[in-house]
Subunit: 199 residues, 2 copies
C-alpha cells in the first residue's frame, strides 16, 4: 500500500469521499468559488488530510477529472445493434443527469484557462462514451450488422452528439425518451444509410 | 433617440464597444473574474459611463447575451440544399471560432448558477443557427428537395450537433474541413434517408 509523506497509510475510500465532495461542490458553486476549506467541510475530513494528498485546488480537481475519465461505461451485450445502442444511450443519459454530468458542466468554462485541467480533461466523458460505442460497433460487425471501420469516424461522433448538444448548450432536458428519438430518427437511419451491410 | 437618466444622449456605438469588451474579457478571464473596472479599462470608457447604463456585472452580461441572441445568421441562397447547408455550416464554424464562440464557452458553466443569465441565454447561439437552418429547409422544400416538416425535429438538431460537441467538450478544432465531413457523412445521408422526396 502506498503511504503518504508522513508514513501514514492512505485510505482509498476516503479519497473517493473527497472526490465525490469535489464533484458536488463543482456542480453547486463552480470551480471559481470552490475552496479547500469547503472541500474539507463537504467531505467531513480535516483540511490537513486534503493538503497531505493534494497541494492545491487545481491538483485536486485535475486528479478528480483523471479519475472520472478512468471510469468505464460497459455497454450491455443484448444481441442486436439496436438494443445495444438503446442501452448505451440510456446509460449516457444517466451520466449526464448525475454527478459527473453536473461536475463536467461546471468545468467547461474553466478548462480552457487552466492547461493542467485541460490536459486532465481531454475529451471529457465523451472519450469514455466513444470507447463504449466502439465495443458496440465491434459486436455488430462480428454479427454482420455493420460494415467494419465505423470507430473514430464523424458518423460515430454523430450518434451521441444531439444528447451532448442538449445537455451543454440548449438546456433542454436530456431524457431516455429523447435518447429513444435520437436512436430512431438519427442513429439507426444514419447507420443503415452509410454503414449497414448493404449500404 | 433614447437618453440616459442624466439626460445625456446615449451613444449606441459606445454600447457596441462595451459589449465587445465584455466578450473579450469573458473569453480571457471568464465570468467569475470579470469586473466592472476591467470592462471600463478594456472598452476605454469611464466607469461612470458603464454604471449609468448597467447597474451590475450581471445586468451587463445578460444584456450582452440578449444582444448576441438577436444577431441573425442569414444563410446564403445558393439554389441547392447541399450548397446551402455547406455555406451555413461554414458560417457556424466561423462563429464558433470567433468572439461569440469564445464568450459563449466562457458562460456555459456560469449560466446554470444565475437564473437571470440563464433566461437571457436561452438556447444560446444554437437558437440562432436553428432559425437559419429553417430558412434553408423551407427553400429546399419549395424546390422539392425535402419533404416538409423537418424544422424542430431531432433530425434537424442532429445536423449541427457534431460541430457543437467538438466545440464545447472534446476541444478538437472545429474547421471548415470538419464541417464538410459532417455534411457529406452525416447531414446529407441522414436527410436523404429520412426526409428526401423519395425517402
Amino acid at each position: 500500500m502506498r503511504t503518504s509523506r508522513g508514513g501514514r497509510p492512505r485510505d482509498p475510500s476516503r479519497d473517493g469521499v473527497i472526490r465525490a465532495a469535489i464533484m458536488r461542490l463543482l456542480a453547486d458553486v463552480g470551480y471559481g468559488a470552490l475552496t479547500m476549506d469547503a472541500v474539507a467541510a463537504e467531505a467531513g475530513v480535516g483540511k490537513a488530510t486534503i493538503y497531505r494528498r493534494w497541494r492545491t485546488k487545481q491538483d485536486l480537481v485535475a486528479d478528480t477529472i483523471t479519475e472520472l475519465n478512468g471510469t468505464t461505461v460497459t455497454p450491455a451485450d443484448t444481441g442486436s445493434l439496436e438494443t445495444d445502442l438503446r442501452a448505451l444511450l440510456h446509460a449516457i443519459v444517466d451520466v449526464i443527469n448525475g454527478p459527473i454530468g453536473a461536475a463536467t458542466q461546471a468545468l467547461l468554462s474553466t478548462v480552457p484557462h487552466h492547461p493542467v485541467l485541460g490536459e486532465a480533461f481531454g475529451d471529457g466523458p465523451v472519450g469514455v462514451w466513444c470507447r463504449a460505442f466502439e465495443q458496440v460497433f465491434a459486436r455488430a460487425e462480428a454479427r454482420g450488422e455493420l460494415r467494419p471501420g465505423l470507430a473514430g469516424t464523424v458518423t460515430a461522433e454523430a450518434l451521441m452528439a444531439p444528447l451532448v448538444q442538449r445537455w451543454l448548450i440548449t438546456g433542454h432536458p436530456v431524457t431516455r425518451d429523447y435518447a429513444d428519438e435520437v436512436l430512431a430518427d438519427v442513429a439507426l437511419p444514419l447507420l443503415r444509410a452509410t454503414c449497414g451491410p448493404t449500404a
